[in-house]
Amino acid sequence: MSAAVTRRPPAVALIATVLVVLWVVLAAFPFVWTVWGSFKVQGDFFSKADWTYALTGVRTMAETGSPFTGAGYEGAWVEREFWRAAVNTMIVVVFTVIISLTFGTLGGYALARSGYRYAFWLLMIALVFRAMPHITLVSGYLLPFFEWNLWGHLPTAIIVLVAINQPFTLWMLHSFFLNIPKDLDESAMVDGCTRFQAFRHVIVPVMWPGVITTGLFSFLLAYNDFAVTATLLSQQNQTMVPKIASFLGSTQVEGNVMFAVAAVVSATVPLFILILFFQRQIVSGLTAGAVKG
């Protein structure tokens, strides 16, 4: 774009810059503050006397002898067995992503290549399903799951998350497959491949950028879920997010709030790393839906 197009009057540029700086502070400060505070004792992080205690760590110094303490982390991970929740989260997330993507690529490919009216209607139904609040679906499962003894197990939560994920996965992969030229797999079929062979040998090798982007969002949905995992999993199968919520019930005890703070920071770290490495894919994924309408 030429300079004339992008040039702005100084007043506009100033306002824009101030706004962006303000936004960056608003977006980042809560995280910086909480990570910093997670290494303090409760008396500093929630300081009645003076908020600067959180910076200087006066109480932390007095209670532990050093300005930083890992007591919150030790309490959460060892004493309250947060590691168990972390393992459960890992299992749920990995399987949800793999199964979602397997189902989603097959379905999304079919939707992208079928010109019939019912493909359009399936996409519309998927859109309506996408809008359903998850908790309304949960209230439909809960009673049957109790009756059939399916309640509380990790596989149950995984398959439910896969299903809830499907509408979104189908939409996204469908629009990615539309971008892969039809001639590619059709010429393979002219050469004698079946539809599935064409998919397997021609489409699969070129679909990975789309699949990775979609996978990131499936990951986020499974990782961030609270409604399904909080209601469908038993105590010992709890994942991280409901576990953190359960810490809150016991926050009245001195020090336990810091367990929750430490657990919150621990659970945010993987997301932080995810953005660090996949920022480009996340941005392109968010906009893929928009461009396709």
Binding site: V5, R8, A13, A16, L19, V20, A27, A28, P30, F31, W33, T34, K48, W51, A54, T102, L106, G107, A110, R113, S114, Y116, A119, F120, M124, L127, V128, F129, A131, M132, P133, H134, I135, T136, L137, V138, S139, G140, L142, L143, P144, A163, Q166, F199, F226, T231, V241, I244, V257, A260, V261, V264, T268, L271, F272, V283, L286, G289, A290, V291
Partner: protein, 343 residues
């Protein structure tokens, strides 16, 4: 693609969605017509030498358990659950309508009914957060677009944080900061000079807090989509407009805005869907006393010690109807577009 091949490709997705999205919707409708069994009571006569004999009611735990075992759905209640005090509350609404003095008073009385209270918050949240996300997202996108290239990447990285973070965790982080002993809470007390100011105490402040959280959480989504849109504004058209002597405002009005309009529709659609199911912030901010949403209302019924499946199911059905009304304009539009394309 032949029907048969299409069918096999789509089958796994379809089965998953049918079993875990369509079936629960049916199951919810069925459950909403039933309520839990009442406890089986036994009447027995208890006699003691001082007060004489009297009748006493005791709960027959075994019989109650057997009854629940035999008919897990509960007893048939028809549409009774929908019209009871905790849902549409027809009787109470009619009563309030007759006795209230003016609309404000009527609204005030409605807010004492749990379902209408949840509905009011859900709608307020949805229709306040959505436009704010669009305005703020657009403003940030325009701001970032003018930044030197070096700063764009880090700004986007930071901006993604509030959106990517688990909603429950994001709301907890803010909740701790606005605590009377947290940094924002105590700063606000200093600023207002009111040492007892608490953002958690009054309903109005709680609503405000939740809405601020909602905008903080969703603005990055609007920002990213609009920012990507700004990258694809046709530069030839812009340059042509300059040659034709269009002012800055005219260029925005006639080139940029038409280009961005579909993106605004997209963000609005996604935001309406997502904000309507607002749930985690209410758990995170422990705000249930002052603000409940439809989703939270269902969750509270489900996780209660005496899980009220019938009540939760009735609220779910009403929520799904709400979603349908919300989506209706979009679906009608898509349907027309689709037919026009075919015609």
């Amino acid at each position: 693609m032949p029907h048969r091949t299409f069918f096999w490709f789509i089958l796994p997705s379809l089965v998953a969605m049918a079993l875990f999205i369509a079936f629960p919707l049916v199951s919810v409708v069925a459950q909403s017509l039933f309520v839990e069994h009442e406890q089986v009571l036994i009447e027995s006569e208890v006699c003691d030498p001082f007060t004489g004999c009297r009748k006493e009611l005791t709960v027959d735990a075994v019989a109650t358990a057997q009854l629940r075992e035999a008919q897990p759905l509960g007893r048939f209640n028809g549409l009774g659950t929908y019209t009871d005090l905790n849902h549409l509350a027809f009787a109470e609404v009619a009563e309030a309508w007759r006795t209230s003095e003016g609309l404000v008073d009527f609204g005030g009385q409605l807010m004492n009914l749990p379902f209408y209270k949840a509905l009011a918050f859900t709608l307020t949240y949805t229709f306040v957060v959505t436009p704010l996300v669009i305005v703020l997202g657009l403003a940030i996108a325009l701001g970032v677009n003018g930044l030197p290239k070096l700063f764009k990447g880090p700004t986007i990285f930071v901006s993604l944080l509030p959106m990517i973070v688990t909603p429950l965790i994001g709301s907890l982080i803010l909740f701790w900061m606005i605590d009377a002993r947290g940094i924002i809470g105590s700063s606000l007390q200093e600023l207002t000079g009111d040492p007892n100011l608490s953002l958690k105490a009054s309903p109005a402040l709680t609503w405000l807090t939740l809405i601020v959280y909602g905008v903080w959480h969703s603005a990055p989504f609007g920002f990213i989509v609009f920012y990507a849109g700004l990258q694809t504004v046709p530069s030839e058209t812009l340059e042509a407009a300059i040659v034709d002597g269009a002012s800055r405002w005219e260029r925005i009005r006639y080139v940029v805005i038409p280009h961005m309009a579909p993106l605004v529709v997209f963000v609005t659609l996604i935001q309406l869907m997502d904000n309507f199911r607002v749930f985690e912030p209410i758990v995170g901010f422990s705000a249930a006393a002052n603000a409940t949403s439809l989703s939270y209302f269902i969750y509270a019924d489900l996780t209660d010690i005496n899980a009220r499946f019938g009540s939760a199911a009735a609220t779910s059905v009403l929520t799904v109807i709400g979603v349908a009304i919300l989506l209706a304009p979009v679906l009608v539009r898509t349907w027309r577009d689709f037919n026009r394309k075919r015609a």
